[in-house]
Symmetry: none
Subunit: 421 residues, 2 copies
């Protein structure tokens, strides 16, 4: 069974937007054993969309199409689908009721233009959209089953996994299984990671390897193709163990979890709590930590103290410490960490003070310098790091991740002590 993917939209055609949907769809299809042969993308032009749909209809068994299902006049995919299939359009009253219901729930008036989103080619199987107003639909054109999905990534992803993949899995055909596993790591570059796990291909010939930089993490993706899911799972598990052995503490999670969710799990298990004092990261650490549902169980407080005044008044940093060492210094970071731990009454206090840029650097403390403090029941430590990404947004991210990584290592050690004692 072979598949193609089509992305529509003038932003993609003109290069204003990088199309990340297609890669996601390709991966998801490959995982369920569907071979993706070709991607295409075209702009918001009915005639061109029709001709591409007809070409694909002759070549492929399955095609996922994204974009052009919105309510506006440049959303043309539904019209093109009906023309390519040579069928009429009709107003689906059930879909219309569902869209009306969404707007009612949102407490917003529905616009007349949204009616368009309840119009489908005759012969369509409608697929409701749990996260937006545009329903998707399935339609056979020539020999190919087309799945039309919205272009908004969050909507597309939900509908792909919840609606499209289950339908495709039921299609007949001698598909092989592809099982995957993702190992998230932090601390080594992509090439250093590659060198650490060199030899994997020889050790595990059944495994295909993909390294993906998800800044600032490197994710190691393992693919196992075959017929027997039980054997493939065993193989994946052995390979993960082998990688864990080679990579050590750089491994955040053998199931691809993010730094913040790994930390959330560790803190919850130890029934401890965390408070954060952020300067240059400006709330990013707190934002990540609170992305996990249930974070209120262990996340107590974060103070984003940009100014020295706020560091002194709110965190109790000594004015003479800042005067003597400056705001970006291990000693200041230690006092920030101790201060926030004390005022919040938390098990751990984590602090970050650094220079994210583009301005504010000096020769002694260039842009990319960050000091991190970690106050724990057994004392406080201060560390300094230098990064040179040169971009404010990247510096904020690497500073935040580095601080959380220190906390993670501390939590791992605390967990070990508990187990031993």
């Amino acid at each position: 069974m072979i598949a193609e993917i089509l992305a529509t939209g003038d932003e993609i055609r003109s290069g204003a937007l990088i199309d990340s949907n297609t890669a996601h769809i390709a991966q998801e299809l490959e995982v369920v054993g569907v071979k993706v042969v070709r991607h295409s993308s075209v702009g918001d032009d009915v005639e061109i969309i029709v001709s591409v749909l007809n070409e694909i209809g002759r070549r492929a068994d399955i095609c996922v199409v994204t974009g052009g299902l919105g309510p506006t006049t440049d959303d043309l995919t539904t019209e093109a689908a009906s023309k390519a299939a040579g069928v009429e359009l009709f107003l689906d009253q059930t879909a219309l009721a569902a869209i009306k219901n969404i707007f009612k729930k949102l407490n917003r008036p529905m616009n007349d233009s949204n009616i368009k989103q309840a119009i489908f080619p005759v012969g369509t199987t409608r697929m409701d959209n749990p996260v937006g107003t545009a329903p998707g639909f399935m339609l056979k054109i020539d020999k190919c089953y087309f799945f039309f999905l919205p272009g908004v990534p969050a909507e597309m992803r939900t509908m792909l996994s919840d609606k499209v993949i289950p339908i495709i899995k039921k299609f007949p055909g001698n598909r092989k299984v592809c099982l995957t596993n993702t190992i998230s790591t932090f601390g080594l570059t992509e090439s250093a990671t590659g060198e650490r796990i060199a030899g994997l291909a020889e050790e595990f010939p059944g495994i295909k390897l993909g390294l993906r930089a998800k800044f600032p993490e490197i994710h190691i993706k393992l693919y196992a193709y075959g017929d027997d899911p039980i054997r493939l799972n065993e193989l994946l598990s052995k390979t993960s163990d082998w990688i864990l052995d080679k990579m050590g503490k750089s491994v955040l999670s053998v199931t691809g979890d993010s730094m913040a969710s790994v930390i959330g799990d560790l803190i919850k298990r130890q029934k401890s709590s965390i408070a954060v004092a952020e300067s240059c990261t400006g709330g990013l650490v707190a934002h990540w930590l609170t992305d996990s549902p249930g974070a209120s169980d262990y996340f107590i407080f974060s103070g984003v103290t940009y100014s020295n005044r706020a560091k002194i008044d709110l965190l109790g940093v000594l004015p003479e410490t800042i005067e003597r060492f400056g705001a970006v210094h291990e000693e200041t970071a230690k006092e920030m960490a101790k201060g926030v731990r004390r005022i919040a009454g938390a098990t751990y206090g984590l602090s970050i003070s650094g220079i994210a840029g583009p301005d504010g650097g000096t020769e002694a403390k260039p842009v990319g310098t960050v000091c991190i403090g970690l106050a724990a029941p057994d004392g406080v430590e201060g560390r300094r790091f230098n990064f040179s990404f040169g971009k404010r947004s990247m510096n904020k991210v690497i500073f935040a991740e580095t601080a959380l990584d220190l906390l993670r290592i501390k939590l791992l050690k605390a967990g070990q002590t508990e187990t031993i004692s």
Copy 2:
């Protein structure tokens, strides 16, 4: 003159890698007035590459192809090009000498496999690669000029700008210029936005419109094609004014700026400052505000106060207010805003308290409820909103953006008062 773009490579085909080359090439071609009609990508498979090259050769005038010029066995583009054009391959001695020279300069032994990179289809115009070992080449297949470039982004970009674009600029043909402008908006849905600016196509026939949901903002993208950049700029500017008139305060910026950077500009201009008390947004408002370089001039403090204890102890919210109304209430939000404004000594205090989910909702205050407080020199206001995106991460984003939008409107009014007085 119309163009297509083809990306080759198994990583792209299988979705292991997101193809960013194509968007870059499309933008560069559009800027010099070449209309890009279609993108394709296929894996490392000679037969499939040949058939796509032949299709494009019949359709387009220009095609840029990336990938498959390396030294390994899965680099198949050169072979496919010769087959598609129906010509032989030959070893180019000049190219071979250049490749040998690169290795000599790098002080590295040259592999036999690199000889492959000096082999080209007969009739090729070679294009040297100043940043890597793989030369590119130009070859006419059917009616189309194909430019074959390496897939490594840095090499591709250099060769595109230094070799390909200068050649294309010399091609005859009535190439048009394309200028674009982006208007960022918040508060109306995509369909409501479309209806507000209905009639744009009739009013400004030279403008092509694209609406793009960049959750939670809607961006209106304007494209102007033509011969005279000065006239096109005038047209874009008139169209932007027309949209501003129709959309009113929903327009964040006529130059596509984000909410946080619009607020940063307004605050800086008014020489005022801001402090934030966040509950459910968990630091996201502070993170956005501090993404702008120079935010330290006006951003004083943010307290992420998840617990009631922290709201009382750190912000001075009255225990009886929380007891009577609950943590998510206009009155509590007002006290949080007043408290953080006072302790930080800021012009404005902004607070957010809500239920991001997935748990914590009640019938009276379901998940998606958020209360926002805004304390200003002329008093404090509290507002309540209900959203139903059902996803924690989306709720955090819409809560944060809504809070910042209230602040933005307040700053706009303050700016007007200043001007009048």
